[in-house]
Subunit: 445 residues, 2 copies
């Protein structure tokens, strides 16, 4: 019963770095004052929050004023998407007074190159899907993918269900496992206001072409040559702490930070580009005491914020080492899996053209009675999952299906994600464990 | 510089009990798994969350299934109010299909007693404010007061500004400092859906007649004798951990729990009556991975939740002692203030008819140059505030004005709130400190 367990589920959540726990404990002990209080007890707390904001900003290559703390990734994702919907509606109201609504909202994509590439018809509408009903453009249009986290996808479905937005899930490429630029451009409509795509997928580990998507949507002109901005949001939950992330290089307008995926606490942050100068809008979900410059009222969770700052500092300083170490471990794991299971091994997230996170191995062990959830149930040492933590164990992953993995292979998938301190010895034990599990299942079959 | 400080600002925030910090640190260290994961790492976290939910439930006298964890009081207050607005709109849509809208939404208050007490006219409308424009009843009507926390008041203003609700701030009684039942009943309209009033005021410490308000609104019949439910919400932030709080005795439908006001962490919870059986509705603000039975998605903040549970357990077990100790200290403080300043002392929250929190003393020291913020600036030992942490230091408190304190007295107000471990010796030092501050200000005048 007390056998050593080896956790390879670091994409579900990570333990906190001991320095992060110390920072949180110290802040809870010494900086418990209300950051809005004018006496010293309050000022100490405020100073700690300022430092943490600066550390989070450094991690993603921006300035403190672009960072707003939230209770986590779900709040951040929801808040960003809701903001863009509200912004669209406000702009529409402005246009109603300035000029005819029809003109302003039913323009067309008119760059020659995008017309050529995306088979646009004379009026810039996609051939076959050109809709003459101009009312369709009254709602904001959001482009996303079928591989997003529920904090994006479920919220988008809610917006659809309540007629607050029109949503398109652009196809993923079965050749790269990515949301390719051309598939995004293919879906652009006159009312497209947001593209939201994660920076790295939680199940396959595939890094998405977010920079290329940003570059491409910046060039789109619509409505009599007018450039109407399409915002780009990326949820960087799985990328942070595993690969360098820089908002300026990416070119995104919004980015979601989630502490517990990079050895930090269960809070998060919103990055909004040049927020101070209102280059990107940000509308609060909550109304209250004015904290976080009114973007996110509520007495600040000083301890957790301090911890997020510390986790960001650690990730920023050590990213090259972490990336190298995890990559070495993951590559060794894949090598050993092939050694152990030969042709029965099918890697689900490996495409020659696509970069992957250094820590993620999505693998199916083929053969009778070897579905992922059965294999895990027979493991004595390995703690892992068949996909995202919140999805049912005995269904094939919708993400794998979306990137073209056949259903019978997807049913066998295991998501093995290594951590910063996973060792080669751990990997050896895990592979042995998998071997005995698969053998046991074969015997039972 | 290193002089001992005495913190008498426990209504702004409290330090965490050391046991709470230990619980949080242990949970962060040992229960960092994703509570949605099916392996043991996840199960450990889930168990801790279940225990914490049970402890919070015990503190307020209810069952676990009525408790939903939130990021704090602001989220809880906003969520409850938004829920009731959505509920009103859903019910309205139902009624549109069932019968004529006008009939169902423009009924009248028809209990004889309330007619008599509240000077209602023949159709139950208040005389003088009877509005024949039935469209006015299309929006949900919310009754609140001018003493609420910004998480209630600012959110209500937002709902007003965006035409999502009609809001009435019922008058506070200058005889009791309370929101009296008759003042609430006076404002009931055919479309009233919610009364939201805090359980104890943060500045005066006055305990509000929430039970009486609940009892009264339950008896109101409207619309051809039909009883349409009016929900009652109370933000119990200032009451919890200071006086016993029991949702069944109070009779409220919703209650807000805020950890950091009772020596716990900066998260909170929503109580919704018999949530499991949908006796009260609760609509989520966020959409995502289904956590908290979909009422509040987002990976659970296990450490903070564990801490909230521990703080609740401590408060529940020791409430009588805490209440007695704080009350003794506060009463001694008031005695000493009178001794020190004689007739210059004016207590702002003391009404013979009203119960107060055991820890709160709102006092003005009258006389030239003795405005509250000036006195605090001259104090060397005392850390306190002139009112709520998030309000400007040199304005008279809107709450004091609302309970009838004259502006020149309100400008002198100090909010002194003692804690569980404040001692008589601390009080002696504070009063000495105040004496020297007032003397210095007199010399400067």
């Amino acid at each position: 019963m007390s056998q050593k367990k080896i956790y390879l589920d670091y994409n579900a959540t990570t333990p906190l770095e001991s320095e992060v726990i110390t920072t949180i404990t110290e802040a809870l002990t010494d900086a418990w004052g209300n950051p809005s209080s004018s006496h010293n007890t309050g000022k100490t707390a405020k100073g700690i929050i300022d430092q943490a904001r600066s550390d989070v900003a450094s991690l993603i290559g921006t300035k403190s004023s672009d960072v707003v703390f939230t209770s986590g990734g779900t709040e951040a994702d929801n808040m960003i998407i809701m903001t863009v919907v509200k912004h669209f509606n406000k702009e529409k109201m402005k246009n109603v007074t300035e000029k005819n609504v029809d003109q302003s909202l039913t323009g067309y994509i008119n760059t020659e190159s995008s017309k050529k590439r995306h088979h646009l018809g004379e009026h810039g509408c996609k051939i076959g899907s050109c809709d003459t009903d101009e009312e369709k453009y009254e709602l904001p249009h959001i482009i996303s993918s079928r591989m997003e986290h529920p904090a994006v996808n479920v919220f988008l479905e809610h917006l659809k269900d309540t007629a607050q937005a029109v949503v398109t899930y652009a196809s993923l490429s079965p050749l790269t496992g990515r949301l390719e630029v051309e598939n995004v451009l293919h879906e652009i409509k006159p009312n497209t206001i947001l593209v939201t795509v994660m920076l790295a997928n939680n199940e396959t580990g595939i890094i998405q072409p977010v920079k290329e998507i940003c570059d491409a949507v910046r060039n789109i002109k619509r409505g009599n040559g007018e450039t109407k901005k399409i915002f780009v949001h990326t949820d960087a939950a799985q990328a942070l702490g595993k690969v360098p992330v820089d908002v300026a290089t990416l070119g995104v307008d919004y980015l979601t930070v989630v502490g517990h995926k990079y050895y930090g606490p269960r809070i998060g942050a919103v990055y909004a580009k040049d927020l101070e100068n209102r280059e990107t809008p940000l509308y609060p979900f909550f109304f209250g005491g004015g904290q976080e410059r009114n973007f996110r009222p509520g007495t600040e969770n000083t301890g957790m914020i301090a911890g997020l700052g510390k986790a960001s500092e650690i990730a920023f300083k050590n990213i090259v080492k972490f990336e190298t170490d995890m990559s070495k471990c993951r590559d060794y794991l894949e090598e050993k899996l092939v050694e152990a299971f030969g042709k029965r091994v099918h890697f689900n997230g490996k495409f020659a053209q696509s970069e992957r996170l250094p820590n993620t191995c999505n693998v199916s062990i083929l053969g009778n009675n070897c579905e992922g959830h059965k294999v895990l149930a027979k493991c004595k040492v390995l703690q892992a999952s068949v996909g995202a933590a919140c999805h049912a164990q005995n269904k094939p992953s919708a993400i794998l299906l979306a990137v073209g993995v056949p259903e019978d292979i997807a049913r066998h998938a295991l998501r093995l994600s290594v951590g910063r301190y996973t060792t080669i010895e751990d990997i050896d034990l895990v592979v042995e464990d998998l071997k005995q599990a698969v053998q046991m299942l074969a015997d039972e079959a």
